[in-house]
């Protein structure tokens, strides 16, 4: 079998760390080759070497058996290597077509010549079943669509080797399904794919072979069909990972969070984003809000947390009406919030770890005296939290959070929120973009909170998470709660029906 790309014995060292240590990856023609590893395992470094962004210290790259040197991304393009980055590289106020041809424009006497490009793009989109409108502006299309534009960019440049860097992290379950189909089409047309991910389900569904990296080291290359998910994750993490969470006995307490007829109608709009949402959360339960992205979950959380005004309705916490309370008051009353966007809301990236851990209690008696911060207690608390929550960082509590890995940033947020003696913890997609080890850790933390008698309101798009972690599932569809389900009594397929609006639960009929 011929290899289209071989990266042989690649070693790349940065000051203080071996990012890649004797790593070998061989990509066969026409296969989907998954690259699996935890955050910081060296996947991105390896792909950056292949893409010409770094030079390896040792080792060689062969393309179709011939040794080559890739000095920059242009070289990579010359060898027909293309990459879809996790964060798309698109110009938002350009159209789809303009973005696709950007950097490879057809010109005639210095003038843009889009006719031929348009034809080629339309042909490609038909061939690969990538429906797009070439004249739509990027800012107007969905994330899934934007990803298609990125794929078309590679195809337009006649790339045969396609690298997908965690392509599903930003997609909804439906979009993931479509993407995997697109990838199958690409293979059918003779492309080869390197698929960077840490979602085992996707690897099982689409990949032929899988190379596993751990802490920069090459662990193994396995045939996906003959390898179980458990084996894959063990190889990735270096230990056994529980997929089924043992939650322990549930002790239900009194109602602690009560939402009545919560509604939100945006200005200049006639369609409510939240439509008379009512539910209760009791002590000692994990209630999961399931739904396809954009059905009002984010707005529901923002209005519960006090970050967005509501049009109508009532929110009660501990029998107190907090509908119009400030964010600070809600926090002090016992509401913790693990936000959806950890960079936008959850952290001040240029602050140190200890400063971020104090973000919600810097004003308490222990942490300040007459307006002056008590750095000693802040630092001590940070040290305790980094130990208990295993937050890893370069310079301990003094690390600038921006330089920490995503998993550890998320752990820091969770440590902060959970340690503030909250009774209700609102967690929005707390495991998004994290690896199996970190996900397991976070799930355990949420379950521990439940077992301590606190209430957890979990918003998730991951069906596995919804089914495994929750005690009760509320399904949201078009701003309404359409079902109140028990995860023990339904299947994932049924849940999908509720989420897509084709079924409604008892008591929630139209």
């Amino acid at each position: 079998m011929e290899y289209v790309i071989e990266m042989l014995n690649i070693t790349k060292e940065f000051p203080g760390i071996k990012a890649n240590d004797n790593v070998t990856v061989q990509l066969k023609s026409g296969e989907v080759h998954a690259l699996l590893g935890e955050n910081g395992a060296g996947k991105s470094t390896l792909m950056s070497i292949l893409f010409g962004l770094y030079q390896p210290d040792q080792g060689s790259i062969k393309i179709k058996g011939k040794e080559v040197k890739i000095n920059n991304p242009n070289d990579a393009n010359k060898y027909a290597i293309g990459m879809v980055h996790q964060h798309f590289k698109l110009v938002h106020n350009f159209t789809v077509l303009e973005n696709i041809i950007l950097g490879a424009e057809d010109t005639k006497n210095g003038f843009l010549h889009k006719g031929r490009a348009r034809k080629k793009v339309l042909e490609l989109s038909k061939l690969y079943n990538l429906n797009i409108n070439p004249d739509a502006y990027i800012s107007d299309i969905t994330v899934g669509m934007q990803q298609r534009v990125e794929i078309l960019k590679m195809l337009y440049r006649d790339n045969d080797i396609l690298i997908f860097d965690e392509p599903t992290a930003v997609l909804t379950p439906q979009e993931i399904h479509e993407l995997l189909n697109i990838m199958k089409n690409l293979i059918k047309e003779g492309k080869s794919i390197i698929f960077i991910t840490h979602k085992l389900n996707e690897i099982k569904e689409i990949a032929d072979r899988c190379t596993i990296l751990r802490k920069g080291k090459y662990i193994d290359t396995v045939d996906v069909k003959t390898c179980s998910k458990e084996t894959l994750s063990r190889k990735m993490v270096g230990r056994d990972v529980d997929f089924v969470i043992n939650k322990g006995e549930q002790v239900l307490g009194e109602t602690i969070l009560k939402v009545e007829n919560l509604s939100y109608l945006p200005k200049h709009s006639t369609k409510p984003v939240l439509d008379a949402v009512s539910f209760e959360v009791k002590k000692g339960e994990i209630v999961c809000i399931a739904g396809i992205e954009g059905n009002g979950q984010s707005e529901l959380v923002y209005s519960l947390a006090g970050m967005m005004p509501i049009t109508d309705g009532k929110v009660m916490l501990h029998d107190e009406d907090i509908t119009h309370s400030s964010i600070r008051d809600r926090n002090l009353l016992g509401m913790a919030h693990i936000p959806e966007d950890r960079h936008k809301h959850g952290l001040v990236l240029d602050y140190t770890l200890e400063e971020n851990l104090a973000l919600k209690n810097y004003f308490t008696k222990e942490n300040q005296k007459q307006g002056f911060l008590n750095f000693k207690t802040i630092n001590e608390r940070a040290k305790t939290l980094t130990d208990t929550f295993d937050i890893r960082s370069g310079q301990g509590a003094k690390t600038i959070v921006r330089t920490m890995s995503g998993g550890n940033q998320q752990k820091a947020i969770i440590a902060r929120e959970v340690s503030n003696d909250a009774d209700v913890i609102i967690a929005v997609q707390p495991t998004r973009g994290l690896d199996v080890g970190a996900i397991e850790f976070i799930h355990n933390q949420l379950v521990a909170q439940r077992n301590m008698g606190n209430a957890v309101l979990l918003v998730s798009l991951e069906l596995d998470e919804v089914m495994n972690v929750s005690d009760r599932i509320l399904v949201m569809y078009e701003g309404k709660i359409v079902a109140d389900l028990s995860p023990k009594e339904i299947t994932v397929e049924e849940l999908g029906l509720y989420m897509s609006g084709s079924k409604r639960g008892k008591g929630y009929e139209k």
């Binding site: 940065f14 000051p15 203080g16 760390i17 990012a19 590893g37 935890e38 955050n39 910081g40 395992a41 060296g42 996947k43 991105s44 470094t45 950056s48 770094y54 996790q86 964060h87 965690e166 960077i196 990296l213 920069g216 947390a305 970050m307 400030s326 964010i327 600070r328 008051d329 809600r330 926090n331 919030h337 936000p339 936008k344 809301h345 959850g346 952290l347 001040v348 990236l349 240029d350 602050y351 140190t352 400063e355 973000l359 919600k360 810097y362 004003f363 300040q368 307006g371 002056f372 911060l373 370069g394 310079q395 003094k398 690390t399 600038i400 330089t403 890995s405 995503g406 998993g407 973009g433």
Partner: protein, 362 residues
Amino acid sequence: MRNREAVKSILSSLIAIAFGLLFGFIIIFIVNPNQAFRAFSILIQGGFYRGLRSIGQMLYLAIPIMMTGLSVAFAFKCGLFNIGTPGQYIVGAFAAICVAINVDIIPYSILWIICLIAGGLAGALWGIIPGMLKAYKNVNVVISCIMMNYIGMLLVIEGVQRFVYNPMGAESFAVPVNKAIPKAGLDKIFAGSSVNIGIFIAIGLCVLAYIIMNKTTFGYELKACGYNSEASRYAGMSEKKCIILSMGIAGFFSGIGGAIVYMSGTGATIGTAEVLAIEGFNGIPVALLGFNNPLGVIASSIFIAHINLGGNFMQSVDIAIEIIDIIVASIIYFSSFTLYIKLYLDRRRSKRELIATQGGEE
């Protein structure tokens, strides 16, 4: 991490200054090749050229730009670009003169303190207005600050004509020496210069600002808001409070700067020509060069005063005053490249480090 950051900041400021000086030397060389080395040496000696007298003068010249620089730096920590310093500076100066000229019932030993506070409060008002517009109506601070500059300048001209007008020179009265800020022996040490204890007040305010920013809960909120206003809101802080207060405090600093200068007993007067106070704008390069750090501002303002003074002394080797202005301006201009140089230093380091530690992250 923080220490390394500080070293990098200082290093990049020094590199920027070196580039500026090199550029200045090139201009001098083009203008006057024969005397270039001598002129350049005078420029570099700057405030030290005439010994203690010129050192005193250098400190005196540093006061206004130290205060406006501090003003810009302070607002910047909250993510706001306070370009309203010329307005805040001049209304502060006017308020101080007004009180000094028209109030006679208070003993002169404390009158100057009241004048400075009046100047500070007037400046604070001029800062708070754009702050409130930003906080409540999301009006761009730069635009409202520029408006406030002109409103302030024109109102001050009107006010001068009404309350403290000296028709002889078509300008305000000067604050008489007996009402001025005391010198406390500085006139003995730095004989022949205009320096007074205003320099200690200015440095003291810089230290105070440093303490507010780095040691207090308010500073913590302020910086959080500047770095990431969304996150500070999420954490329950009041973004409005941060914006209004930081603009008010920034305006206070500029206003006090204006007050000190016109309360120095040097005979300085506010004219009725329609020009914005240059000391206000000069705060911007001071803040940039000082890395928006209050302590850095002390050093950078003294440096810029030093170079300005050196420029003045260069007249002795037959370099036209306009050329000197160009040279000094280009040194200051180059100094503003500190950020760019720091970015370059960062990039060189982070390219190696960040990727290594973050690895396959996001």
